[in-house]
Subunit: 196 residues, 2 copies
C-alpha cells in the first residue's frame, strides 16, 4: 500500500460521518447531537466512529478543516478582488454562505451561536491582514480591537442574514456590512455626530 493514499473503506466511513454530522446539525443544532445519532444517521457502527475520531468535537473540527482547505485551493481569485473598496473577504464569504445556505445555517447554530473556533480564527486572520494593510500599523492595541470589532459584527450580521428569510442578495448585505464597517452608523443613518 502506498504510504500517502487512503483505504477506500476509511474514506467512505469518514465521508459518511461528516455528511451525517451536517444533516443532523441542520436539524437540531450541534450540541444536541450525540455520537449515537451520528452513527445511526451515517449507518456506521459506533465503535467504528471511535477508531476515526476520539469524540464529536474532533469530527467537527476535521470536517471544517477539510472544508476550509477545499475553499482555499483556488486561492488566486481572492487576491484579485483585493482592490475592491473595503474588505476582500466579506463578499466571497457572503457568496459562499449563500450558495451553501443550509450548511452555514447549521454552522452558525440555530438560536444558539455555535460557531466553531476554526472558522472564527480563519476569518480573524483575514480581517487582521486587511486592516493592517489600510493603516500604517501604528502599534498599540488598536489593530486588535478593530479586528475583534469587525469579526464580531460580521458574524452577527451573517447570522441574522442566514436566519432571516430576507430578500437581500449576498452583494447587497455585503455592501451594507462594508459601509457600516468603514464609515460607521453615522454614515448609514442621519445627523452624523463626530466622536473624538
Amino acid at each position: 500500500m502506498p504510504a500517502g493514499s487512503i483505504d477506500r473503506r476509511v474514506a467512505r466511513t469518514r465521508s459518511r460521518l461528516q455528511q451525517a454530522l451536517f444533516r443532523l446539525t441542520t436539524e437540531n443544532g450541534y450540541t444536541a447531537i450525540t455520537v449515537e445519532d451520528i452513527c445511526r444517521e451515517a449507518d456506521v457502527g459506533r465503535s467504528t466512529f471511535y477508531t476515526h475520531y476520539p469524540d464529536k468535537d474532533c469530527l467537527r473540527k476535521a470536517t471544517i478543516d477539510e472544508h476550509i482547505k477545499s475553499l482555499q485551493a483556488p486561492g488566486a481569485e481572492r487576491h484579485s478582488q483585493r482592490n475592491a473598496k473595503g474588505f476582500s473577504f466579506s463578499g466571497p464569504v457572503f457568496e459562499h454562505a449563500h450558495a451553501t445556505r443550509e450548511m452555514h445555517r447549521a454552522l452558525m447554530g440555530g438560536k444558539k451561536r455555535e460557531m466553531p473556533e476554526e472558522i472564527r480564527g480563519w476569518i480573524s486572520r483575514q480581517v487582521r491582514n486587511e486592516l493592517a494593510n489600510i493603516q500604517g500599523d501604528e502599534g498599540g492595541g488598536r489593530l486588535e480591537i478593530a479586528t475583534r470589532f469587525i469579526v464580531g459584527a460580521f458574524f452577527e450580521v451573517m447570522h441574522w442574514w442566514l436566519e432571516t428569510d430576507t430578500k437581500l442578495s449576498p452583494a447587497e448585505i455585503d455592501q451594507i456590512f462594508r459601509q457600516l464597517a468603514f464609515n460607521g452608523v453615522n454614515a448609514v443613518f442621519a445627523e452624523p455626530t463626530r466622536i473624538e
Copy 2:
C-alpha cells in the same frame, strides 16, 4: 405565612446555588459544570436543587435575570447620560463589567463564548432603541442589521477586553468602541475610502 414573602430556607438555598454557579463558572466555564458540582460547592443536597430549578440552564437564567433586575433598579442615571456622544449603554456596561470583572469573564465564557441569550437580548434592546433614536426610522431592514452589527461588535470587543490583561480603562475602551461604531474603521485608521 404571608403569600408574597419567601421562606428563609428557600432564599438561603437559592442564594447558595447561585453563588456556587458563579464561582464554578469562573474556574472552568459554564458548560463543564455539572449539577453535582454546583450542589457540592453550594453544600446543598442534589435533590434540593431539583425542587428549585428543573435544570442547570434554568438556574443560570434565574440568576442572570435577578442580576439584571438589580442593575435596572437605579434606572434613572442611565437616561441621564443619554445625550453623551454616541451610545448611552456601552459606557455603563463597560464600567459594570470592569467592577465585577471575574464574574463577567465567566459570563462571556473563557475561550468558548457562552454568552447567555438573556444578556444578549437585553443589550440588543438597548442598541435598537438608541439607533432608532438617532435615525429617522427609514423602515427597511437597516435598523435591524445595524443593531446586529453593533451588538456583535460590542460583545467581541468586550470579550477581548476582559480576556486580555490590557491597561485600557473602561472609559478608554468605550471611547474606542464608540468611535469604531459611529465613524467606522476609516475614522480610526488612515486614508478614508468612502463606500456607497
